[in-house]
């Protein structure tokens, strides 16, 4: 399983990446592996706000339907509009083609409290 060093991770198995003043969000390799084949993705609209701990997207796999929780507060600037037509990207490329939304966080320093790759790896081994 692959956990890129440049990303930060959450206990809800999302990854986040700060680039400039935007943060990209998706789900980790571990999360996609647990979900199994993803068959449907529902994303929010740009302009909406996301709140910490509130669901912003829905991912449906052959096993289950799961809410995806926002790790940060902020405004959605862009969503991956190709994802609903290619939900398999979440399985095949969770960190690149499978990105879900880009937000402008209210407080970019909130990323500091998240896990880095090795902490996340230790976290999922414990789970």
């Amino acid at each position: 399983m692959d956990f890129p060093e440049e990303l930060k991770y959450t206990e809800e198995h999302e990854w986040v990446l700060l680039e400039g003043d935007l943060v990209s969000i998706g789900i980790s390799d571990f999360a996609q592996d647990q979900l199994g084949d993803v068959v449907f993705v529902e994303l929010p609209e740009p302009g909406e706000r996301v709140e910490v701990g509130k669901p912003f997207a829905v991912v449906e796999s052959v096993k289950a339907v799961s809410d995806i929780y926002a790790p940060l507060e902020g405004e959605i600037i862009e969503v991956n509009s190709e994802l609903p037509d290619a939900p398999e990207s979440i399985n095949t490329s969770p960190y690149e083609d499978g990105w879900m939304i880009k937000i402008k966080p209210d407080d970019p320093t909130a990323l500091d409290g998240m896990m880095d790759a090795s902490e996340y790896q230790a976290f999922i081994e414990e789970e």
């Binding site: 647990q34 084949d37 068959v39 052959v62 096993k63 289950a64 799961s66 939900p87």
Partner: protein, 486 residues
């Protein structure tokens, strides 16, 4: 001529469109002996491309063959956890087919439908006695419909108090319909983590002044009785909320415990689970809802009441949430449930519950050690295993598919979500020890195969009519209708 593939006489069957032969017709119409009338052109339907042309026997065989693919509780063991697929005794069907019930028009005036109203009233009384609720509606047409009715009543109760609460607490061991119902009613769903059973502390931490209700499934989807439920109900009440109970698992409690006595305010029943009425296939269900005295004024109308020796439907209830459907109920299902109650009696219902719990625990005892048990507590009517520790990349789906080769319907899989790779087995009281042993033998043999010949699991099913289907492709690129080949 279609090439019929067969496994013995397990008949394969094409789509009805593909059986069509140009010009084939089942009937000869007599020569027209009156002046021909041309309908207005706007009323004429355009040619339907590829409309099948078949004779009567083609059509009869097509659907009869398809029907042989059905699997039901009359075909065999059906251990779908959380679905309570118990046997539906045929005497219930006899009762439902009595002409006085079967031919009764739903608009018949009350005075001419006294027998039916009496049955409804007595069924209400029986369900109240079983569950400990003082009032009840028979209207909802399914469990989820009952949940909807229950949450509307909770909303109406809060509204009558002047409350504007907008959150509903739902533990992670609840049925999936619970959050769906709360969301449909406009509530914000707040999930609560549980460790098998819900703790008072977890509810206490989440129970603020915005919470309208807690929705629990008891016993929960792990088959565990919510042992803190009384204290939890007291806490929720003391903070101004109500408690909804999903009664889908009531089969584990009959004659032993009454949810109304535990402090629950609203609960739906699934007559098609606990009370042995038909199930699945999209057929009619029924989801009566029992409520506390405080919520009784909000019950949907019409309500069946008894005045002296007369029964009637009452619509004049100013605080009612209104009617939930056309006419009063899914009446034919109520007749079946009533017949079941009469044939079982109080001691029979209690015995059914005891045997349902015993059967689940027998399976637990036989499979423990070969399959991982994520929650060690003794469960009630169902038992949840997981694929943790299965060797050679053998997973829950493989185990389920391999069960087909052994001639068993698989249990519920990948639910509840709190268990990774869940196998959720609910045998119900229907099954004999002999049947349970055969099922356990199959699962034990599969656990052995996972060690020694995992390809048998990965390739399964091999004995079924079709091999393993591509569920992912079917979900990603569904073919929802037939289209003629270009």
């Amino acid at each position: 001529m279609s090439a019929i593939k067969s496994k013995g006489l397990i008949l394969d069957e094409k789509l009805i469109f593909e059986r069509s032969a140009a010009g084939r017709c089942g009937y000869d119409l007599p020569v027209l002996d009156v002046p021909a009338v041309e309908p207005e052109s706007g009323l004429l339907r355009k040619e339907i491309e590829g409309f099948p042309e078949l004779s009567e026997v083609d059509v009869v065989r097509h659907y009869t063959r398809l029907s042989t693919w059905n699997y039901g509780v009359d075909s065999g063991f059906y251990p779908l956890g959380s679905c309570t697929m118990k046997y539906n005794p045929k005497i219930n069907e006899v009762a439902a087919r009595l002409p006085g019930f079967a031919h009764l028009h739903p608009a018949t005036p009350d005075r001419l439908a006294q027998g039916a109203l009496r049955l409804m009233y007595e069924l209400q009384e029986a369900l109240c006695e079983i569950s400990g609720f003082p009032a009840l509606t028979l209207q909802p047409s399914a469990g989820a419909h009952g949940e909807f009715a229950g949450m509307l009543m909770i909303h109406a109760w809060h509204q009558a108090q002047g409350n504007r609460r907008h959150k509903v607490l739902i533990p992670d061991t609840a049925h999936g319909t619970n959050p769906a119902t709360a969301a449909l009613c406009g509530y914000e769903v707040v999930p609560i983590a549980s460790d098998g059973v819900l703790s008072l502390e977890a509810v206490e931490a989440a129970m603020d002044e915005d919470v309208a209700a807690l929705m629990v499934t008891n016993p929960n989807t792990l088959g565990l009785f919510e042992s803190n439920i009384r204290e939890i109900c007291d806490l929720v009440h003391s903070r101004g909320g109500l408690v909804y109970c999903d009664g889908a698992n009531l089969n584990a409690l009959l004659g032993v415990c009454r949810p109304g006595d535990l402090g629950i305010d609203v609960m739906h029943f699934n007559l098609h689970k606990t009370f042995a009425t038909p199930h699945g296939g999209g057929g009619p269900g029924a989801g009566p809802v029992g409520v506390s005295a405080e919520l009784a004024p909000f019950l949907p109308v019409p309500v069946v009441v008894k005045d002296g020796e007369q029964f009637r439907l009452v619509n004049d209830r100013p605080q009612s949430i209104g009617p939930l459907r056309t006419f009063s109920s899914q009446f034919g299902i109520l007749v079946r449930a009533y017949a079941y109650l009469l044939t079982m009696g109080p001691s029979g219902l209690k015995r059914a519950t005891e045997l349902a719990v015993l059967n689940a625990n027998y399976i637990r005892a036989r499979l423990e050690g070969s399959y991982h048990l994520p929650y060690k507590q003794r469960s009630l009517h169902e038992v949840v295993f997981s694929d943790v520790g299965q060797p050679n990349d053998c997973h829950t789906l493989d185990i389920a598919k391999r069960l087909l080769d052994y001639g068993f319907h698989p249990p519920t899989i990948y639910f509840p979500l709190v268990v990774q790779g869940a196998l959720m087995i609910e045998p119900t009281e229907t099954e004999s020890k002999q049947e349970l042993d055969e099922f356990c033998d199959a699962l034990l043999a599969i656990a052995e195969e996972a060690k020694t010949s995992p390809h048998l699991l990965h390739e399964a099913p091999v004995n079924a009519r079709t091999r393993r289907l591509d569920e992912t492709l079917a979900a990603r690129k569904p073919k929802l209708r037939w289209v003629p080949e270009a």
